[in-house]
């Protein structure tokens, strides 16, 4: 276990250096003359985070935007990368898949999450039931990839199946299916993995929101003769609209950036690539950083409306407060 020593030392040094830096900032801020103390505090407290975010996010984002208009050797090539993206069949398949992902994953996750949250509301053992569906949220997408490869496992017809789904298919008299190989439906089978992960997230948020809907309203609707569906549709859903928006937004953004699932399950082959995966492939495997950057830029433009919307909601809420 001699490798442990060196690694432990590195971690220890990093933490010590960090503590020293923070200590230094605190010392300077504390000892500053009264006249500049407030200003210095603001600068000292904000600067580390601000510098890291400027260098790590703002600068690269700007840089990438320029990179998107260059070719493999770094020469400006106008909008060639975008032309490539919107004309090449493989690149078009990537865009098409991304659209399918961002429509289906938020929708299905929210529907399943909401249904489950409603069904188990006030049930016995509610917390344990929640934990079962919530569990995949904690599993890495790489782990999820392995789990689902096992589920989708394929053996030729006539041989004992090792994947659950194919075993069920054979038991029902159907032929086993190569779930990850046959385009275009293989994208759907990858999407199921993401839905499996995100449903738990939607479920806990929506469950908390449902418990926040005033009981009196539900009771009143019931007394007025509304059946359970009407109660749900006309009282519960309007009551949790804010939470629904948050859930849909968060899952949409996570889905647009989905990478690991595709990477580990098909590596983007068999027509399953999505923007985030193709961007990695182009930039780090195919030696086309310009194309990678162009894809990243498109990804950002897709996310932008959601950011603007959320920023506006945020501002409104702060004004209310």
């Amino acid at each position: 276990m001699e490798f442990l020593g060196g690694k432990f030392l590195q971690v220890f040094i990093a933490l010590a250096v960090f503590a020293a830096l923070i200590g230094l900032i605190m010392l300077i801020v504390d000892r500053a003359p009264k006249s500049v103390k407030d200003k210095l505090t603001i600068v000292g407290f904000l600067a580390p985070a601000a510098i890291l975010m400027l260098v790590g996010l703002v600068y690269p984002a700007v840089q990438t935007s320029f990179l998107a208009f260059t070719n493999a050797s770094g020469q400006p090539n106008g909008v060639d990368n975008f032309v490539w993206m919107f004309t090449q069949p493989e690149a078009l398949a990537t865009l098409r898949n991304t659209v399918i992902w961002t429509v289906l994953v938020p929708l299905l996750s929210t529907v399943f999450g909401l249904a489950y949250a409603v069904f188990i509301d006030k049930a016995r053992g509610e917390n344990a039931l929640k934990a079962l569906v919530f569990m995949p949220v904690g599993i890495s997408m790489v782990g999820a990839g392995i789990i689902w490869k096992l589920v989708y496992d394929y053996r030729g017809p006539g041989i004992e199946q090792t994947g659950v789904v194919n075993a069920v298919r054979v038991a029902l008299g159907m032929d086993p299916k190569q779930f990850l190989l046959d385009a275009p439906e293989n994208t759907i089978f990858l999407i199921i993995v993401m839905v499996w992960i995100q449903t738990g997230f939607a479920m806990v948020i929506l469950s908390a929101a449902i418990k926040g809907v005033p009981v009196e309203l539900v009771e009143a609707a019931r007394l007025d003769g509304a059946n359970p569906w009407q109660q749900f549709r006309n009282v519960t859903v309007p009551g949790i609209r804010g939470a629904l928006v948050v859930v849909l937004t968060t899952i949409t953004i996570a889905t647009l950036k989905v990478f690991d699932i595709v990477r580990t399950m098909t590596a983007g082959n068999y027509d399953t690539s999505v923007i985030a995966n193709e961007m990695y492939t182009q930039a780090f495997r195919a030696g086309e950083p310009g194309r990678g950057a162009a894809l990243a830029l498109v990804l950002f433009l897709l996310v932008l409306p959601i950011v603007v919307y959320n920023a506006r909601v945020l501002r409104q809420q702060r004004e209310i407060r």
Binding site: V151, V246, K257, T264
Partner: protein, 325 residues
């Protein structure tokens, strides 16, 4: 949604409680016509059935992984292999795969214990860095007094949503060419993860810290406390629930990351985290496929334990950030 302030959980639970009390006994159902009672019962029975089905579908894949990981190699691959559910017919199990993936030596070995340590060595400093830096910034955004505070906070919020993919290429060249960070060290990963974690961290903590009553801070100021004292003695102790949930977030996020690791680790056993190794060994189809379930389970055991153990904090963190923002 300001219905659900994260700091006072008490109000929340009491609301749930009162709802339960009112909801259960003495409902109009008791006096309602029989038809309606039957109908309600039926809907709830269907609902229960649907819930059971969802819970089963969501649990079976992970359960299958767990069972597969303890089945002998011959049962998993090769001519005599069959599905993991046959385990319940033969009860043939072994823990050899777990020993193989963690402890076995040699180039063939998955060598997971090394990568496991790497994951810890990456996650722990990053979590500390993000917690400290984000809470400092969040404090200023909540209680500092300067022009452009609102605008800059919204800007930070928006940063949350820059796709990581956009940042990777320039950042890599910055690290290797300008800063000359050695490729085979943790430094690149620590810095990159900290950068990417800050916007969400600041956002979550800000929501919580800004809810701390202003009188507390005013009182401390009157007593002569400076910003540093207020921050360390008042803000941080009061923010423990939010800090805990952010810590879990950050821990899970970094532990489960693959993309940042692929770009910045260089892929050596000295630095690369367990997810990267897992992606490697599961990506290569071979005669050692039977080790994958055990390897996957080793990698998910830590996040799963952290996650299920501290679920409550995690949910609270989601709500503090989510429902209000």
């Amino acid at each position: 949604m300001t219905v659900m302030p994260a700091p006072d959980e008490a109000a929340n639970s009491s609301r749930t409680q009162s709802r339960k009390d009112k909801g259960r006994p003495a409902t109009p159902e008791d006096s309602a016509p029989i038809m309606r009672r039957v109908k309600t019962k039926l809907t709830s029975r269907w609902a229960t059935a649907a819930a059971v089905i969802i819970a089963t579908i969501w649990t079976v894949p992970t359960f299958g992984l767990l069972v597969s990981s303890i089945r002998p190699a011959a049962k998993q691959v090769g001519p005599r292999s069959d599905g993991w559910w046959n385990f319940f017919a033969d009860w043939d199990f072994t823990f050899k795969h777990y020993v193989d993936v963690t402890a076995a030596a040699g180039s063939q070995s998955a060598n997971l214990s090394q990568y496991f340590v790497n994951s810890l060595a990456i996650v722990i400093p990053v979590t500390v860095f993000v917690l400290v830096l984000a809470s400092m910034a969040a404090y200023i955004f909540a209680w500092g007094n300067f022009r452009g505070r609102e605008a800059s906070f919204i800007f930070v919020f928006a940063l949350q949503i820059i796709p990581l993919q956009m940042a990777l290429i320039p950042l890599l060249s910055l690290f290797t060419q300008v800063l000359k960070l050695p490729p085979g060290s943790y430094a690149q990963l620590w810095i990159a993860h900290t950068m990417f974690g800050l916007p969400l961290g600041i956002f979550l903590l800000h929501n919580f810290i800004s809810e701390i009553p202003g009188e507390v801070i005013e009182a401390a100021k009157v007593d002569g406390a400076g910003h540093t004292t207020i921050f360390w003695r008042i803000i941080l102790p009061l923010s423990v629930p939010a800090l805990a949930s952010l810590a879990i977030f950050q821990f899970l996020w970094v532990w489960n990351d693959l993309l940042v690791a692929l770009v910045f680790s260089g892929g050596t056993a000295d630095v690369a985290p367990i997810t990267q190794r897992l992606a490697e060994i599961s990506g290569t189809r071979g005669n050692r496929d039977f080790l994958n379930p055990a390897a996957a389970f080793v990698s998910i055991i830590v996040p799963l334990a952290v996650f299920l153990g501290l679920q409550r904090f995690f949910v609270r963190g989601l709500l503090a950030g989510g429902l209000k923002g």
